[in-house]
């Protein structure tokens, strides 16, 4: 996925000279995850630049650049360090177009490497999506495959709205095919990635591959699971989810983030409203515990794995 993102950013920089990349250590180093590697050498330090070490400053100045007609793509180094920029994102970036009554739009993309499974230290493994999904004016997306990463980053940059682009760190290194010539699913569409008839499993980012593992095991036990990759966390594309639940009658939503007031809670509530008479069991959530992200040696217990998903599938099937 790192290479796919790099290629996607390269394409976006080549397509539109208003596109800028900015963030901490993204220039000569190419970012701590090397997502921007080689881009400064190729496009110059005016288009791809290192900022001072200040997240509010990064997002705040990106807003000013966007007001001036640029399309800045900010890298936040790690999920847990987005909070110094929280104010700029939620009170300014999200609201300024509305405040200006549409006089200008703010096509800012904020790339956030997020999530666990990399054995890192505190503040380097979190899933802060829900804070931003709660805020009107922002769009949130998260790719789960290199193919989506390549295309979605370009679409996010083309979007006239601010887009929070959540990159699942644990998926940075696994390889996958990218169809560079092909077309892609629209940015805000969810996608059925595995067909099934007994239960619908929904997740985003790194959890999609966990669902796929769970679905394979369930299949061996004679349970047919349909897997949906959300792709877009705000707005959520409910069409394919509701359609699937209408067919299967069961829904399990999985996420790395804590469960309380989370994306999973929201999806559970909405699908219950929209597909109540199709449901054969309550919608179940599988999530991290409601604790601070634990030390790396314990993260395996916190983050839902295929077994935890299967436990929920079994519960759903038991109704």
């Amino acid at each position: 996925m790192v290479k796919a993102l790099n290629a996607g950013l390269r394409q976006a920089l080549a397509d539109d000279d208003k596109v800028l990349l900015m963030g901490e250590d993204i220039g000569t180093l190419g970012g701590v995850f090397r997502v921007t590697e080689g881009l400064q050498a190729e496009f110059g330090a005016k288009r791809v630049f290192d900022t001072p070490l200040a997240e509010s400053g990064i997002v705040g100045t990106a807003i000013g650049l966007a007001m001036r007609g640029y399309r800045p793509v900010c890298e936040i180094q790690f999920d847990g360090f987005i909070f110094p920029a929280f104010d700029q994102i939620t009170t300014q970036l999200a609201k300024l177009t509305n405040r200006a009554q549409g006089a200008f739009s703010l096509p800012v993309v904020i790339r956030v490497p997020y999530g666990g499974h990399i054995g890192a230290v505190e503040h380097h493994q979190e899933s802060p999506e829900a804070y931003f999904a709660h805020t009107a004016g922002l769009r949130l997306v998260s790719p789960s495959t290199p193919h989506d990463a390549y295309w979605m980053i370009q679409e996010a940059i083309r979007s006239d709205d601010p887009v929070m682009f959540f990159e699942p760190k644990s998926r940075y290194w696994p390889k996958g095919a990218v169809d560079f010539g092909g077309s892609t699913t629209p940015l805000h569409a969810s996608r059925v990635v595995r067909q099934g008839t007994d239960v619908t499993l929904v997740a985003h980012g790194a959890m999609v591959s966990v669902l796929m593992q769970a679905a394979e095991v369930a299949q061996e036990e004679g349970i047919s699971a349909e897997v949906i990759d959300l792709r877009s966390l705000s707005p959520v594309d409910y069409g394919p989810i509701v359609e699937s639940v209408t067919k299967t009658g069961r829904l399990v939503v999985a996420q790395e983030a804590s469960g309380f007031v989370s994306l999973g809670s929201e999806i559970a509530a909405t699908v219950t409203e929209r597909a109540f008479y199709s449901l054969k069991s309550p919608v179940l959530r599988v999530s991290g515990f409601d604790i601070p992200f634990p030390p790396a040696k314990l993260e395996k217990l916190h983050l839902p794995d295929a077994d935890r998903v299967l436990e929920a599938v079994d519960r759903a099937m038991a109704y």
């Binding site: 200040a54 509010s56 705040g60 001036r68 640029y70 009170t91 509305n98 009107a136 709205d161």
Partner: protein, 374 residues
């Protein structure tokens, strides 16, 4: 007030031209001001003062949700605003009504904002509004937008080309309290780091609501920027000529790619912080009296009289200012409420399913009442 920081001041309390040592360096700039400019300065201050008084009344009468007075800070604002060239961009905080007036914004939009009709007011992209961007209520947040915008000017190649009429800069206003905000420090860091053409203009009106400036900054604010690598100067903020000369000079420095600049305008908020505030709870009456004696409008009138301006001019301006305030009052009294459907507009730039659904839902819901519930 007892510190010895050099202060740029041209006008004595009696309105005579008596530049301080610190002012000499900027004195050339005054030559750019015509007699008409001086009259226009005075006129803007009076219009704003009357508008401000009217708006305070409107708030008390329940016509505005809140009022943020500019009373007392007219000189700092009028001088700096007149110093900006047409192509410069202004990032105000929320008290810069005089700046807005000078740059062409219809102050009716400020009233609508504080009446609770909009969150935005004027269109900052419409040239009629003099590149004045929207007010920002989150203290200091806009200082970063200003720097980002200034970086955009650099990228656009309209900085340092040597054409003073084309090269642009950004003028960013905030208060003494705002200097405590992390965003303002980050703005100084980013501006210095990128040498973005930004002039930070602090109106040190001595109070951040009830907290005096010494709590925000034990050192004079004018010394703050030095540590960031940005030259700073203190001016007498109640002297419009000082405000003009230094801002003009610093904006030209910025546009000529000499880097960001910082101005501390020492002034005073004569009224309340906002209409919800009660300054008698925290303010010493003697301090207030000291500053009443330094009223910028009174001082500038003395100056103009020394230059030979007669009664007729002042009478005319006051009449015009009264008429201006009265017209604002009449306009706001007949203002309606915004169309409810507009709540869902411009939340996103591109179509958004949730906005569409909720807008339709509200329409149907309202209609169900209009038709009578079955």
């Amino acid at each position: 007030m007892s510190d010895t920081t050099p202060t740029v001041q041209f006008l004595s309390l009696e309105g005579e031209l008596r530049p301080t040592d610190a002012a000499e360096e900027f004195a050339d700039r005054l030559a750019e001001l015509t007699d008409d400019d001086l009259r226009s300065m005075y006129r803007s201050m009076q219009l704003a003062r009357h508008f401000d008084a009217e708006a305070s009344n409107l708030q008390r009468q329940g016509q505005l949700a809140l009022w943020i007075p500019s009373h007392g800070q007219e000189a700092a604002q009028v001088g700096s605003a007149m110093a900006a060239r047409a192509q410069d961009h202004i990032f105000p905080a929320y008290r810069e009504h005089v700046v807005a007036l000078v740059r062409g914004v219809d102050l009716y939009e400020v009233l609508r904002l504080l009446r609770g009709e909009t969150h935005g007011g004027w269109d900052p992209t419409d040239p009629a509004n003099g590149n004045v961007h929207g007010y920002t209520l989150v203290i200091g947040a806009h200082s970063l937008h200003a720097v980002g915008y200034a970086q955009g000017l650099q990228l656009d190649g309209v900085v340092g080309t040597g054409d003073l009429e084309r090269d642009a800069a950004v003028l960013c206003y905030f208060g003494d309290g705002a200097t405590s905000q992390g965003d303002v420090s980050e703005a100084l860091v980013f501006a210095a780091s990128s040498q973005a053409p930004t002039v930070f203009f602090v109106q040190n009106n001595q109070w951040a609501i009830s907290v005096p400036v010494r709590v925000q900054s034990p050192v004079p604010l004018a010394l703050r920027p030095t540590g960031f690598g940005i030259p700073g100067v203190r001016i007498d903020g109640n002297d419009p000529l000082a405000s003009y000369a230094v801002t003009r000079s610093f904006l030209d420095d910025a546009r000529e790619a000499r880097g960001p600049r910082f101005i501390e305008a020492l002034t005073y908020r004569l009224g309340a912080h906002t209409s919800s505030d009660d300054p008698t709870k925290y303010r010493d009456p003697e301090e207030y009296a000291y500053w009443v004696a330094r009223d910028p409008i009174v001082r500038f009138e003395k100056h103009l009289r020394l230059l030979g301006e007669g009664d007729a001019f002042f009478t005319d301006v006051v009449a015009e200012a009264e008429e201006f305030a009265d017209r604002m009052r009449r306009r706001i009294l007949t203002a309606g409420s915004p169309d409810p459907a507009t709540m869902f507009d411009h939340v996103y730039a591109e179509p958004h399913p949730v906005m569409t659904e909720q807008k339709l839902w509200l329409e149907r819901y309202e209609a169900s009442y209009a038709e009578g519930v079955q």
